[in-house]
Subunit: 314 residues, 2 copies
């Protein structure tokens, strides 16, 4: 970095033969979080993490962050300082440096808008639009955990800490940079998204951008045991959380079928769960994209509608 | 650009031998603007322009923008579309492309946070911290016009359009990219800032970053005739607007004294007003920076306090 904080703008050069990856996500109080579901440091952490996840979904890694925060007098200086603690915790985990931003007053709700700048090898960024018929559909890690955690956090009775890991899944998700780098290095990945809005929404984005139909097998969706157990306790369908929950920041994408064994080994060696959950079908003659769920032996279309926080569309 | 809108992140490479310049500014309803002072398109325009101005203050030029907008149902779809019109108008003026962002709901005030990414020649970015004793202090264009415009816009009676240019100065300022490029090319500029918070605040930043004392001659400050005339009419001191107004987006900085004649000619050829307004004094023995105003034959210290929009600190 040539110029960091404390000037009109920051200045840096990407590494040799690298391009810059740039993304921006906003988080708004009452829309994306409540004081009751996220601590101030969780809020800061997650605003950064959602962007690092977007960079991971291009096969890149994050390097710099610009943080724009608008805060009302309702938030104490102590809480503001904790928001920054969370921002720096997320940055430190992934080697990201805060190089700029803006701190302003807000009349009411807290707004946090973060831009993350990363790097990816020239011409190698993994897009959404190159999924090809016959390719396998995979997802990293487990999905639905964050939504289960949010469900729990919205209850009056949260138990005696036995579901603490679910809360953490919602408050402190991890971006899958290592998985993205592994996929990019393999050259086998034809489309990639991060799970910010739920599997259904992400798979629809790939289906539409690539103009393909995708089928997904309900029995293959990787859902954690504690999520399943909690779902039984509260009488919910964990698949609902997986498909329409979001904020798991796992990667979902498509890969050449002949490379699955090799990728499975590489992911196992890296200790990252990697699960094939479906298939890209032949491109439809009518050019229409589709997303179909196979459940109990029948295929049915999966709607797009993603996660709807607190009744508002984010 | 390799990847634009419509994926998880955008991807681009800076030009050969160029570095990336990155900055981020937020604008919040009731804090930075009111519906009565700025039209929706003015708001979008200015949120982009303030960032292009930051890039200009490094000697660079802007290339890309990421726009994060949080909007409540109080704003109609028509108004939202006009905000984007203003964003694109500002971008078009400077060849900037919108490559990403986030559109979210807000419970109340409109928030607009823009990141602009630009380019500058490797190792050549002009910082705030290299001002040297003996260098001349200059400013481009005219200052105080935006503050005069805001004063007018806050009045019930705005006249019959005779002050329309003052309103424009507040609502549609222009970033001084050409001036910044000229200064960078000259190699004569030792420190540079854009006038976003008023001359006093910007000169203080240079004085502190460079650890120097700066003296400014009140008779040299370039203030437009219509600003002076309006100030007389409303019984205000136009210097107050120049020093504590801000949002003129002119450039203020320091240059080698031996290069002033050449720069004056080059700026004249480019049709950009260029005015020497003061001098960098010998670095103080106590290491303390200072800003002094020469007015009516006496020197007095100028306080830092910048522009205070609508009674809140932005």
């Amino acid at each position: 970095m040539t110029v960091g904080l404390g000037d009109d703008a920051a200045v840096f050069a990407p590494g040799h033969a690298m391009e810059v990856v740039a993304c921006c996500d906003a988080m708004v109080e009452t829309v994306h979080f409540l004081k009751s579901t996220m601590s101030p440091s969780d809020i800061g952490y997650k605003a950064v993490m959602s962007n690092i996840s977007d960079v991971a979904a291009m096969g890149g890694y994050a390097r710099y962050a610009l943080v724009s925060i608008a805060v009302s007098p309702k938030w104490t200086p102590e809480e503001c300082s904790q928001i920054y603690d969370g921002i720096y915790q997320a940055c430190e985990l992934y080697g990201v440096r805060v190089i700029g931003g803006d701190t302003v007053s807000a009349p009411d709700a807290l707004h946090l808008s973060v831009t993350v700048l990363g790097e990816v090898e020239k011409g190698r960024a993994i897009r959404r639009s190159q999924a090809v018929a016959g390719h396998a559909v995979f997802v990293t890690g487990h999905v639905g955990s964050s939504a289960a955690g949010l469900h729990l956090l919205l209850q009056k009775d949260r138990g005696n800490g036995e579901w603490r890991e679910l809360e953490r899944a919602h408050q402190r998700p991890l971006a899958q940079v290592a998985a993205g780098r592994l996929l990019l290095a393999s050259g086998a990945c034809s489309a990639l998204n991060d799970v910010s809005d739920g599997l259904a929404s992400e798979l629809w984005e790939i289906a539409e951008a690539s103009q393909v139909a995708i089928t997904v097998d309900s029995t293959k969706i990787p859902i954690r045991e504690d999520v399943r157990a909690y779902a039984v306790q509260v009488n919910k369908d964990p698949l609902e959380w997986a498909f329409y929950g979001g904020e798991d920041y796992q990667l979902v994408g498509t890969v050449e079928p002949g490379r699955i064994e090799e990728l499975t080994q590489k992911f196992a060696a890296a200790d990252i769960p990697f699960t094939v959950i479906g298939r890209v079908e032949a491109n439809r003659e009518d050019g229409e994209s589709a997303l179909l769920l196979i459940r109990d032996g029948t295929q049915s279309p999966l709607s797009k509608a993603g996660f709807n926080h607190f009744g508002r569309r984010g």
